[in-house]
Amino acid sequence: MTLDVDDLTVTIGGRRVVDGLSLHLADGARLGLIGESGSGKSMTTLAVLGLLPPQAVVTGSIRLDGRELVGLSDRQLAPLRGATIAAVFQDPRSALDPVMTIGRQVAEPLRLHGRVSRSEARRRAVEALAEVGLDESVAGSWPHQLSGGQRQRAVIATALIARPAVLLADEPTTALDVTTQAEVLELFRRLVDERGASLLFVTHDLAVLAQVAEEASVLSRGRVVESGPVARLLGSPVHPVTRGLVEATRATTWRAP
């Protein structure tokens, strides 16, 4: 499935947080969205999901396989969320309901969207957990009993259980330890490839971006300032913002000796 954003503008309280942003996520592609805090990357993901605060004013167009999403009501968007388009956010602690077992949360998109029996939902939840490397016993656990990495795996299992065609990931590894991050990034690559889903991966970290995305758009002040293959952006950045990001990353990031 393709996702096309054209001239998107989001204004909140008179402030333009997204300012004429356009991007194209091809079917089965892995597109990165990179920028620093305040560049508008999270607002863009929220706009795609229709989850902006109520006072936000949105203009422009967001099309999912040609179907316009801007202007749809919550009621019209609800059947898409979690089924056609799913999201994984930064903090797995706040993404999980503390009073629901992991198995029930993972199965929730199925119960909300499809008519599946309780036993069928349970079977598929265990299957989804296995796919992200979690044991069947985790289904009966509560969120507080899991480590940060296990929680984020559970969130990914929840996002993928209904086999969405488009997956949005907003800084999904920022809260994780580096060894866990490497495992979760590998998981993203593998699952997206196996499913043929399209991935929009939002991050502030060029080194992380280089691990998951083939193409990327660089955001600054709510607009895309440069786009292209990740290798090209890293090797010969053109826009000053991209150059600043690459230089700063080289100055602070681990370099193999």
């Binding site: 620093e36 805090s37 940060g148 330890d177 580096v178 060894t179 866990t180 991050q181 490497a182 990034l185 502030h204 970290d205 060029l206 080194a207 992380v208 280089a210 691990q211 890293l234 600043g244 990001l245 690459v246 230089e247 700063a248 990353t249 080289r250 100055a251 602070t252 990031t253 681990w254 370099r255 193999a256 000796p257």
Partner: protein, 269 residues
């Protein structure tokens, strides 16, 4: 008295020996003591004069516990801490004032570490007041603000008026305003954007070189450790599993966990 001669240049500035910290968890049965959790076991760590040492490890590895013990913010179950040859004990604040005057601390999150109801000038001047230091406080504050790349007129600003990078500069100014010998940073950059990170990294190196500061940096960021520290200690499960010269440890990690850690770090290449 200790047999360390405090004027000896090769004696470490800060030294932890055999540091352990055990927590007793709530008892599960009225007839048995609660189970014990060993969050730090027998850690030895030195920071030399003018040296930068990094502690690296994942969440729960014990690195923050070790730093709390080294800063006398917590009492070790076993082991001792000495600073410049003098033993440091968690004690009444007034008896640790000498130690606080010679150390400065900067924490991870510049959003929560600055009191939102205090102007920048008061935030930075607070250690001078609390440590009963003599001198021209406003003058010292203005000077340190310029040193960290802020404007002396920023004394009147409120924390919420500043960007994340400016706030971390304020936190750094506050940590060094009283002229400490040792600066301790607990994940000092992990809340910052990458361009700000590069600036703060350069500033830390500059402060170290200009002021002759010793640095103790706690981080899970291998990149920061590589760029800033002379020596590194790797913690896992409450133990220091490997320590040595940074370039050597990172190029030829001996412990399995260090190897795994380094292999996991994303790179641009």
């Amino acid at each position: 008295m200790t047999d360390l001669d405090p004027t000896r240049a090769d004696a470490p500035l800060l030294s932890g020996r055999g540091l352990s910290r055990t927590f007793t968890l709530p008892r599960r049965s009225p007839f048995q003591p609660g189970p014990e959790r060993h969050v730090l076991v027998d850690a030895d760590l030195d920071v030399g004069r003018g040296e930068s040492v990094a502690l690296i490890g994942e969440s729960g590895s014990g690195k923050s516990t070790l730093v709390r013990l080294l800063l006398a913010l917590d009492r070790p179950t076993a082991g001792t801490v000495t600073f410049d040859g003098r033993e440091v004990r968690p004690d009444r604040a007034s008896r640790l004032r000498w130690f606080r005057r010679r150390t400065g601390v900067v924490l991870q999150d510049p959003y929560s570490s600055l009191d939102p109801r205090m102007r920048v000038g008061d935030v930075v001047a607070e250690p001078l007041r609390l440590l009963h230091l003599p001198g021209d406080h406003p003058g010292m504050v203005a000077e340190v603000l310029e040193r960290v790349g802020l404007d002396r007129r920023d004394v009147d600003a409120w924390p919420h008026e500043l960007s994340g990078g400016q706030r971390q500069r304020v936190a750094l100014a506050r940590a060094v305003v009283h002229g400490p010998d040792l600066l301790v940073g607990d994940e000092p950059m992990s809340a910052l954007d990458v361009t700000v990170r590069a600036q703060v990294l350069a500033l830390l190196a500059e402060l170290r070189d200009d002021l002759g500061l010793s640095l103790l940096i706690v981080s899970h960021d291998v990149g920061l450790v590589q760029h800033l520290s002379d020596r590194v200690a790797v913690l896992q499960g409450g133990r220091i599993v490997e320590q040595g010269v940074t370039a050597e440890v990172l190029a030829r990690p001996r412990h399995d966990y260090t190897r795994r850690l380094i292999a996991s770090v994303p790179t641009l290449d």
